[in-house]
Symmetry: C2
Subunit: 189 residues, 2 copies
């Protein structure tokens, strides 16, 4: 099965295993501490294969850090609930895909990852805010930036630094209290 005409590519399965292991290691240790040898071992293949497929460590990270926020259409929501919806969505994405963790842990010490973060927020967050508020481009960018400080700060404290009071916060309470902040950045201040 699947060895017929429609080429399922000999070892896309290997490539996928490498990417999954890479995300895991970059997410757990950051760029520097993650090793090609360790990633290859976790994927059950030879380190040389990683080099063959992705050229070098940089190329491997670039492939592993591909990420889609998948923000829903916020304009379909009641205006007063948008802040909470944004927080809910980010918590979901954060807990459901370790790519974001890999990006954050790496961006702090790695130029390319920080740049990727910038692009993600500029292309996947700002447009949604523009559609909501219909404000000038500069004002939209500022609002997106302020929201980024709160959302990334939440992720940093809850998932990376694991500050006890932030980890202990029930999800619903985060949505309510941090959602109010995001709501303010979206429309008020």
């Amino acid at each position: 099965m699947a060895t017929t005409i429609d080429t399922p590519r000999k070892s896309d399965v290997t490539r996928a295993a490498i990417l999954a292991a890479a995300r895991e290691h970059f997410a757990a240790s950051g760029y520097q501490a993650a090793t090609i040898r360790g990633i290859a071992a976790a994927a059950g293949i030879d380190p040389a294969l990683v080099m063959r497929y992705y050229g070098n460590k940089e190329g491997l990270f670039a492939a592993a850090a591909e990420f889609d926020l998948r923000l829903p259409d916020l304009s379909a929501l009641p205006r007063a609930r948008v802040g909470e919806a944004v927080v809910t969505h980010f918590l979901d994405r954060w807990e459901g895909d370790e790519t974001l963790m890999a990006l954050l842990r790496t961006a702090v010490t790695h130029e390319a990852a920080a740049a990727r973060m910038q692009v993600i927020f500029a292309t996947q967050v700002a447009p949604h805010i523009a559609r909501l508020s219909g404000q000038p481009r500069a004002a939209v960018a500022t609002r997106a930036g302020l929201i980024a400080t709160q959302i990334l700060g939440l992720a940093l404290c809850r998932y990376v630094l694991k500050l006890p009071p932030v980890v202990a916060l029930p999800r619903a309470e985060i949505v309510r209290r941090v959602g109010a902040t995001v709501q303010g950045y979206l429309f008020d201040r």
Copy 2:
């Protein structure tokens, strides 16, 4: 002068130079990428001296990451201005002492540094909030945690990731808009 009775310690100057160089390197590159060789070179001394004084890289970081937030007495301020005062103070401390940058860049991938962050917020931030609000201990910890998400997120985006819209924000505007959020976490929500 100073070679008299009161021992000024032969080479406290060397130790200080090492610590300054260590903060600089940890702040710029994080824990992994910072090297004892590089730090020693910047301090103008031999790498072996670093080992002699601080035992190992871990010990060096522990010494370099000593930090005092120096939060002023917030209860002396008009209640409505506390949020802005907190943001102003953090911006000052962040821009005036690279120790915080070293801590953040390192805490993301280094256990001990993350723990240090926890202790700093628990011992240097939470007490101030307790004095202000007079609420139960758990509620105070939660408020401190929420404030940490906003303050650290701001620092992350402005000083580490350098997200353009956040970098472009005038200081006064940050104080006003983010200050309003901190004010909310302090008293309202």
